[in-house]
């Protein structure tokens, strides 16, 4: 048993540094907001036009004019700011957002990502994913290591239509933390608690680089 989605979110929260501007995608990435370390000021960006997105509102504070990119009712923290979509993607393209965390269906060993379309199934659209992956300075993918059929999602090359090319820097899965090397390949950085290097090797189809002893993640 590897990490559950909360464990993945907790591990990603360890990547945060005080003062960062961070865009969290829908799903597991959203959970990262619950584990921002005490005393750290992180400005969450929501691409529909918020910097300083706060938690969900209490019932009495629900405002239909204030939602996040997942169309959920949210709040804004003191010191937050609103802007329009064109400006929002301007700050993303210009590299002002320090970290983007998003989910993926597949990641390739050269950092390509596929997360918007499955041929033959209803296509709902890419939303802001293509813009985010094409421009973000640092992209961490939060995902399960294998799909529901047990097949590796870390591949030599993506089989699904791409969202972006050579953009993923780091993957935090239920089994491991891996870096995508500039020259290609997944470098194993950490193991999830109780997970062996052998299991990670068996579930990683793309090129896996293992150097020396691989430490276990520390997750509280």
């Amino acid at each position: 048993m590897g990490l559950d989605k909360y464990g993945i979110a907790k591990r990603i929260a360890q990547e945060l540094q005080d003062g960062m501007y961070v865009n969290l995608g829908i799903g597991i990435p959203t959970l990262v907001a619950n584990y921002i370390p005490e005393g750290m000021t992180i400005m969450l960006q929501s691409e529909n036009g918020i910097l300083g997105m706060g938690p969900y509102p209490v019932e009495s504070a629900i405002d239909p004019d204030l939602i996040n990119a997942g169309k959920e009712t949210v709040t804004v923290i003191p010191g937050g700011a609103f802007f329009d979509s064109a400006e929002s993607f301007g700050m993303i393209r210009a590299g002002k957002v320090d970290l983007t965390v998003l989910g993926a269906m597949e990641v390739s060993e050269n950092g390509d990502i596929a997360n918007w379309k499955i041929p033959g199934k209803m296509v709902k659209g890419m939303g802001g994913a293509m813009d985010l992956v094409a421009s973000a300075k640092n992209i961490i993918v939060a995902m399960m290591h294998t799909n529901p059929k047990g097949e590796s999602k870390l591949l030599p090359a993506c089989t699904l239509p791409l969202t972006g090319v050579k953009c993923v820097k780091r993957i935090v899965s239920d089994l491991a933390v891996l870096d995508v090397l500039p020259e290609g390949g997944f470098k194993l950085i950490e193991r999830a608690p109780g997970i062996t290097v052998e299991e990670i090797r068996n579930k990683t189809l793309g090129k896996l680089m293992i150097e020396g002893e691989i430490p276990e993640m520390s997750i509280n």
Binding site: P64, K71, D84, S85, M122, G127
Partner: protein, 233 residues
């Protein structure tokens, strides 16, 4: 200067069949509810609609899908709409999916008089097919064209008789750019005020872009996903 019209029906009275219409909003947040209802009443057909989303089954642009008034939809995400899916799969509806930032900037450029621009979004993916590719500083970009509309429709919080608009919270979304991209721009507002009542320092869209304005009524402001905090978390 006479921009004020009586209501939504008067504002959209000259929208013809086959028109290209841009509508502000993100999901159901900040959509021009009154204009959409008036378009449904008027029954104009074969519309090309440009909007980030396509509403839900019985609200927003979903209302115009139910009545089969939309021929083509240009959007970044059309997830929450079963009727949309049915019409798409049956071939009744044409869809052009555009990355959200590219869509926002294509609309913004129309309002800035710039015909095209380069963006990295979608490079190396299927949406790059047929597009000009160019390298700047060793990074690859796609050329994208400005996106104009015959009619642009937005909803603002406050507006004055000269068409100056002020938005509230995340309702600014696509609306401020869309307001500048229409040959005819129609603004519906929650509060129509006299010139001078809005602080010039706080105007989000200057009146020059707005051709018609009216006081909207009966705003439902439906919430798509009502999420609430539990015990402070």
């Amino acid at each position: 200067m006479q921009k004020v019209v009586a209501n939504a029906d008067a504002a959209i009275a000259d929208v013809p069949d086959n028109a290209t219409i841009m509508l502000g909003g993100f999901g159901l947040c900040g959509i021009p509810e009154n204009c959409i209802a008036a378009l449904a009443r008027k029954g104009v057909k074969d519309l090309t609609c440009i909007s980030n989303n396509a509403g839900v089954d019985n609200f927003g642009l979903g209302l115009l899908l139910q009545t089969r008034q939309i021929k083509k939809m240009m959007a970044s995400y059309v997830g929450e709409n079963a009727e949309f899916e049915r019409q798409l799969l049956s071939g009744e509806l044409e869809v052009d999916l555009i990355p959200q930032g590219t869509l926002a900037t294509r609309i913004q450029m129309a309002g800035m008089g710039i015909p095209a621009f380069y963006t990295p979004a979608g490079y190396g993916t299927e949406i790059a097919n047929g597009k000009e590719v160019r390298a700047f500083n060793n990074k690859m970009y796609l050329m994208e064209y400005a996106l104009h509309a015959d009619f642009a429709m937005v909803k603002a919080w406050k507006g004055d008789r000269y068409g100056n608009l002020v938005f509230r919270k995340t309702t600014r979304n696509f609306s401020t750019s869309i307001a500048k991209a229409g040959t005819i721009t129609i603004a519906e507002v929650e509060h129509l005020v006299e010139p001078g009542e809005l602080d010039p320092d706080h105007i989000h869209v200057a009146g020059i872009y707005v051709h018609r304005i009216f006081q909207g009524t009966n705003y439902e402001k439906r919430i798509e996903k009502r999420t609430v905090r539990m015990n402070g978390k």
